[in-house]
């Protein structure tokens, strides 16, 4: 049974990461924060009946993902989701001094490789390599099998490996 202290700890532990995750779906920071706050408010409302049998983290990611998708469906129903790297706004719009010609070349090659892998795999890789979820948590978050998660990670690693191995020289 969750009391407010446990609830607040859960919120504080996950808020930033969940907002960043929501940003891969919605367009603005305000929307991302609103989505995550809405999820937590809802979670508090249902805490009496809620039983999380697996991972609280997977539960939160899934809830935020669903809420974020609902949010953009309400805005723009026909947009293809998650597959366009240009839809990820960067927090600081000023150019990063480390962004050299080489870095842009890397980014182009990498985006091309990720585009080849498809939107679903990209989402798996994001949850794995940015959010650090386990295979089981990713499967639960996305509602896919563990086998599909593992296959996506393997394909992502192969693509990444060819870029890392082939770069420079």
């Amino acid at each position: 049974m969750m009391d407010e202290a446990a609830f607040e700890a859960l919120f504080r532990n996950h808020y930033g990461r969940l907002c960043a995750f929501a940003m891969t779906v919605v367009r603005t920071r305000e929307d991302a924060e609103d989505v995550v706050q809405q999820v937590f408010a809802h979670l508090w409302g249902i805490r009496e009946t809620l039983r999380i049998h697996t991972s609280a983290r997977a539960f939160l990611y899934r809830a935020v993902r669903n809420a974020a998708l609902n949010r953009i469906r309400a805005d723009r129903p026909m947009v293809a989701l998650l597959d366009s790297p240009s839809r990820h706004p960067v927090g600081d719009p000023s150019p990063d001094p480390s962004e050299t010609v080489e870095a842009r070349g890397s980014a182009d090659a990498l985006n091309a490789a990720l585009d080849q892998l498809g939107a679903g795999t990209r989402e798996v890789l994001r949850l794995r390599w940015i959010d650090g979820l386990t295979h089981a948590e990713i499967a639960e978050t996305l509602g896919i099998t563990r086998k599909a998660v593992e296959s996506g990670i393997t394909r992502g690693l192969s693509a990444l490996r060819s870029l890392l191995g082939g770069a420079g020289g």
Partner: protein, 329 residues
């Protein structure tokens, strides 16, 4: 050496699961070829690492969530008669205490009362009945059924009470006026905190702390309990720290009864107190059966159904009482 990094290790390194030694190994591999670092940075950026956690204002966000849940809960809580076993009202009361604190919240619920420090003498709850007392200093006590709270001395230098039964205290901080609860030989003393005291029928007095710190003493010996800890005093013995989490002792606030290897006779006594309905055992051999479980105490029928499944016993209602018997089928 550079080419000996397995894919699986890169995966663990990226996901943050790598050990220190593994991290150093991959770091060295990345550093050996500058384009690798650029590629990995591009990867993170492409996958949407566009905000560091510190960029989100979690304090402000938490305040907004609190506003939302506070509004939701208080307006959603039905106002009912106080005094009877009404889970929704009790939950609303607890929640308001947790979220808001102070007297205003109690008035909002509409069924509570404020007792001036000088006037408050004693509050008694019958079986199946509970009560919430808001004290003038801002502290509150939630009494479980079959409990009695007596004000011994509430003045400028001390706030002292005597409890038999069970109660949850949410104490307003006041460094100049310690808040003391005496139960048998055990004395619980705090400055400002939330905790529960259970003092029933010759069983050890148990104190469980939700937050803050509490001093539990008996005669000359005392121990300090921190948030999440529970301690007990048996008879006139010295206080002891209990194993395990304090939350099980606080479960009754959430309308949950928890048992961990308790005798069925004790469980039956507890159910009688909670529901204000007599529950008895038809066969004395049942008394020593052990019960472990967690009941959401909506109705006595519910709890008895759960017991009958867990123990393979039967129950029946006779007049206004319940009888548990061995199953004869």
């Amino acid at each position: 050496m550079n080419d000996s990094i397995p894919n699986e290790l890169i995966d663990r390194w990226l996901s943050g699961e790598a050990t220190q030694a593994e991290r150093e190994r991959v770091d060295a591999w990345v550093a050996a070829e500058p384009s690798r670092a650029a590629m990995l940075a591009a990867l993170r950026s492409a996958l949407g690492r566009d905000s560091r956690e510190s960029e989100w204002e979690v304090d402000a966000a938490w305040q907004r969530v609190r506003e939302r849940i506070k509004g939701d809960t208080v307006t959603a809580a039905p106002v009912r008669e106080r005094g009877s076993w009404v889970p929704a009202l009790r939950r609303a009361a607890v929640l308001a205490a947790v979220l808001v604190g102070g007297l205003a919240a109690w008035r909002m619920i509409g069924a509570e009362r404020a007792v001036p420090a000088g006037a408050f003498a004693a509050v008694v709850t019958a079986a199946g009945q509970r009560d919430t007392v808001a004290l003038a200093d801002g502290s509150t006590a939630i009494l479980a059924p079959s409990s009695r709270l007596v004000a011994l001395a509430v003045g400028d230098t001390v706030r002292a009470f005597e409890l038999s039964g069970e109660a949850y205290f949410s104490v307003e901080p006041d460094a100049d006026r310690p808040f003391r609860v005496r139960s048998g030989e055990a004395t619980t003393e705090v400055l400002g905190t939330r905790f529960t005291v259970r003092a029933r029928d010759g069983a050890p007095v148990t104190v469980a702390v939700r937050d803050g710190r509490v001093s539990l003493s008996s005669g000359p010996s005392a121990i300090t309990l921190l948030a999440g800890q529970a301690g007990s005093v048996a008879g006139a013995g010295a206080p002891k720290l209990l194993e395990g989490d304090s939350e099980a002792w606080l479960a009754w606030l959430d309308g949950v009864l928890e048992f961990d290897g308790d005798r069925l006779a004790d469980v039956v006594a507890e159910l009688s107190r909670w529901f204000g309905r007599d529950v008895s055992l038809a066969d004395p051999s049942l008394a020593d059966r052990r019960v472990t479980g967690r009941f959401v105490t909506t109705t006595p029928e519910h709890a008895l159904d759960a017991l009958s499944i867990a123990l393979g016993v039967a129950w029946s209602a006779r007049d206004s009482t319940f009888v548990i018997d061995v199953r004869r089928d």
